[in-house]
Amino acid sequence: MKEIQIHTLFGAALLSGIAGILLIGHGISIGIVFLWLPFLSAANSIRGMAMYGLGTGNASIGYWGTAVGATSAFVVSLSVSCRSTPLLYVAAVVAISLVIGLATGILADKVIRMRIPRIELNSAVIAMSTAMITAGSLLILGNDYGLYPFIYIIITLAVLHPYNASTGAGENQKRTLLLALVEACMTTLVIGIVAMLASRSSIPVSGDVAIVAASACGLVIAVVAWYRLVKSDIYEIRWTGYPPAEH
């Protein structure tokens, strides 16, 4: 089966992420569903890097990528209000994460000589995707500095885990991305619940409830689709009782 290219998925994620942030910025909290694509894009790029046998684990690359993206979003929030000028905020966040992500990828390729194909592109994509997700989360949760570590960790886990869980014999892009969608829904669900509980949340409770409802619906649909795909993928193994020869 033909795989989705990195730039195609990221192009869609970029447009979707910006649309989502603008919607949330204008008080339409349901726009968070548009942030699911950046999750997929980040998970796909982690897969793109980790499948070549990194000198580090999937976890490290997830932590690193989110560190670039989230740190950019956190630092920019100091000067540019994510609430009053969401477009300027997202532009600044994406630009800064692009520069840091690309620079790190080029250094890993040229100085450290990793020789992983498209490492610089994947680094930049992970950084920008996670930056957009962080920016969206900050818009919902408000500038509550105490929640920054929570935002960082929850996004990290959602982007690093799909490939880590799916890796091994028979891993394919479709199943990994579907698992990324499951985790994206799960993450926005938790963000919605925390926004309801947080005292400094910047959107009304009805908006938080809408996020929780949309994420819960998405989660159910994604889990069912993912479970069906897992069953379909393991059909040969279930049938024979032995791993297929081509795996």
Binding site: W64, T71, V76, S79, Y89, A103, R113, Y145, P149
Partner: protein, 245 residues
């Protein structure tokens, strides 16, 4: 408090220290199966863990000035790493009966040559289980790890204090501490993963030949930290000057 330009230089220096420290901390994922010398996890994750412990320790002395913050960070980080090494050695020695042995030293490939622990003089050859690259953390790797953790903790604390100083005029003290903590953790994670590419998932610290590739880590972390530091400086300056969009 320190001026913003000095703080920017401190962020760069801290980032480089964080990157270099990973070369000194003995870690290997296969250490979990007692198949290689070092703590049983990836070098970058272990260094990040030690660094975060250092940042937590540094945060407690934030009001006491730069020197106590750096010392707290370094000691907190080293303490975390030494406790991890001690527990790892106890589990390996008494749980599965594998003595701490340096695989590189046992095979005569350590930085200083020979088959003996460079500090204690204990013979390593003959204690290594067949088919493994050593197991546990012998004394020389503990010393190397401690040096690495002290460097990493000090680097993390430098970044923490620098970001705190830069952001304090724009936001309240508790918010500045929270923001500085997460930004310092971010800088730590960015810089600690880069050396992992050089180390290829395993190192025995300064007694491993991979220490000779440290210049690559140094250059990479210097460039990355410089970009990050310039971004933090520019945004803090905008915030402090009141140019808030």
């Amino acid at each position: 408090m320190i001026d913003p330009v000095t703080a920017t230089i401190m962020i760069i220096a801290g980032g480089v220290l964080v990157g270099v420290c990973v070369h000194f901390i003995p870690a290997s994922a296969t250490g979990a199966m007692a198949a290689a010398t070092g703590i049983a996890t990836g070098p970058s994750m272990l260094s990040a863990g030690a660094g975060l412990a250092g940042i937590y320790a540094a945060a407690y002395s934030i009001d006491s000035g730069l020197a106590p913050v750096i010392i707290s960070g370094a000691v907190g980080s080293a303490l975390m790493l030494l406790i991890t090494i001690l527990c790892g050695n106890i589990v390996l020695a008494f749980g599965i009966g594998a003595p701490p042995v340096s695989g590189q030293t046992a095979s005569g490939k350590s930085t200083f040559g020979g088959t003996k622990d460079i500090i204690t003089g204990f013979e390593q050859e003959g204690y290594r289980s067949p088919g493994t690259d050593g197991h546990g953390m012998p004394f020389q790797t503990v010393v190397s790890g401690t040096i690495g953790a002290l460097m990493g903790g000090a680097g993390g604390a430098l970044v923490f204090y620098a970001v705190y100083s830069m952001t304090l005029p724009a936001i309240s003290t508790e918010n500045a501490v929270a923001l500085a903590g997460i930004v310092a953790a971010g800088v730590f994670l960015i810089n600690s993963v880069l050396p992992a590419y050089v180390l290829v998932g395993k190192t025995e610290g300064m007694f491993d030949m991979k220490i000779r590739s440290m210049h690559r880590t140094f250059i990479s972390c210097l460039v990355t930290s410089s970009i990050v530091a310039c971004v933090i400086y520019a945004i803090s300056w905008l915030a402090v000057s009141g140019v808030v969009a």
